[in-house]
Symmetry: C2
Subunit: 219 residues, 2 copies
C-alpha cells in the first residue's frame, strides 16, 4: 500500500513535470512566432509551424496519463482535482500552441512584403502574455495562490494594450487602403496574443480552484 502511494506520488510529480515542459514549449513557440513576424524570418515561422504537431502529441500523452491515473488510483476530492486541473491546463496550453501556429502562419504570409509599421505593441503584448504564462505555470507547480492572482490582474493590462493596438491599426487602414490587407493580419495577431493572456489567466484560475475548490469565471 505504501509502495502504491509512493508510485502514485511519483506519477503525480511526473504529470506536473510534463505539464511544465509542455508549458515551456508553447511559451517559447509564442516568442518565436512573434519574433518571426517582427524580423520577417521565414525559417523561424516554418519552425514554429512544424513544432505544433509535437505540442499536440504532448497534450494527448498527458491526457492519457491523467485518465489512467484516475482509473487506476481512484483518487478522491483534492487528488482528483489535481489531475482534473492538469487536464484543463493542458487544454489551455494546447490552445496557446495553436495561436503560436496561427501567428507563425501570418508571419510567413507577410514575410516578403514591407511591414506597414515597425511593430512595437505586438512584441510588448507578447512579452506580457509570455510572462503571464510562465507565472501561471510557476503558480501551478508551487501551488502559489498569490502568484496565480497576480496573473489574473495582469490580464487587464494586456486587454488595454490590445484595444490600443486595435485602434492604431484601424488608423493605418484608414490612412492608406494599401495598408488594409496587412493590418487585418496584424489585428488577428493582436487578438491571438490577447487570447494567450486569457489562457494564462485560465491557468491561474485553475490553480486557485485547485487550492480553494472555488471556480472562477473563465475567459
Amino acid at each position: 500500500m505504501t509502495v502504491t502511494r509512493q508510485n502514485y506520488n511519483q506519477e503525480l510529480e511526473e504529470l506536473r513535470n510534463d505539464i511544465l515542459e509542455m508549458g515551456t514549449r508553447v511559451e517559447l513557440a509564442i516568442g518565436q512566432a512573434v519574433a518571426s513576424l517582427t524580423t520577417q524570418d521565414i525559417e523561424m515561422a516554418k519552425h514554429v509551424m512544424a513544432g505544433d504537431d509535437y505540442i499536440d502529441a504532448m497534450e494527448s500523452s498527458i491526457e492519457d496519463k491523467c485518465m489512467v491515473l484516475i482509473a487506476r488510483q481512484q483518487p478522491l476530492a483534492r487528488d482528483l482535482r489535481i489531475i482534473g486541473t492538469g487536464l484543463k491546463i493542458t487544454t489551455d496550453l494546447e490552445r496557446v500552441g495553436d495561436h503560436a501556429f496561427d501567428i507563425a502562419k501570418i508571419a510567413l504570409g507577410i514575410a516578403e512584403q514591407p511591414l506597414i509599421k515597425p511593430l512595437v505593441d505586438i512584441p510588448r503584448m507578447s512579452a506580457m502574455a509570455q510572462k503571464m504564462l510562465r507565472d501561471s505555470l510557476a503558480a501551478y507547480i508551487n501551488l502559489d495562490i498569490a502568484l496565480a492572482e497576480n496573473v489574473c490582474t495582469a490580464d487587464d493590462e494586456v486587454d488595454d494594450i490590445y484595444h490600443q493596438t486595435f485602434r492604431e491599426l484601424l488608423t493605418y487602414m484608414m490612412e492608406d487602403p494599401r495598408n488594409i490587407t496587412q493590418a487585418t493580419q496584424l489585428l488577428f495577431v493582436a487578438r491571438y496574443l490577447e487570447r494567450v493572456a486569457d489562457h494564462a489567466t485560465n491557468i491561474g484560475e485553475w490553480v486557485i480552484y485547485l487550492e480553494t475548490g472555488q471556480r472562477m469565471r473563465k475567459k
Copy 2:
C-alpha cells in the same frame, strides 16, 4: 456487481444526454447570435451573452461527472475512451459557446449603426457550421462513423466561404474607409464561425477516435 454495472451504464447514458443538451444549447446560441447580428436585435444579443454562464456551468458539471465516473468505476480501454472523449467534446462545445458570446458582443456593438452590406455569407457560414455541429453530436450519440467523416469533409466548404467572405470584406474596406471599423468586426465574426466549424470537426474526429482508437490531426 450487476447492479453496479447497470448504474454505470445508466450514468454513461446520462453523460451522453448531458453532452447532447449542452451541444443543442450552444448550437442554438450560435444561431441566435448570428440572427441578432443580421437583424440588429439588441435584446437577442444580450440574451445570448447572458446565457454563456449557464453553458460554462454545464461544462463544469459534465466534467465533474466524468471524473467521478472514472474514479468510481475504474473503466478501462474503450469505456475510459468514452468518458475521456466526453471531456474533450465538452471543451469543444464550451469554446463554441464562447464564440456565440463573442459574436453577440459584436452584434451589440454595431446594432445601432447601418450595416455596410446585407449579410449573406455570414448566415450561410453559420447555417453550415450549425449543421456540422448537429451532425457531429448525432454521430457521437449514435456512434456513427460515416456521419462523423461527413462532418470532417464539410469543413473544407466552410473554409472556402470563409476565405471568400474575408476577401469581400477587404474590398468593402478598400472602397470606403468609413466601412473599415465595421468590416473588421465582421471579419472576426467570419473567423469565429470558421472556428465553430473546426470545433464540430474536432468532435467528429473524437467520435472516430472513440470507435477506432485512432487520433486524427485536430484543428
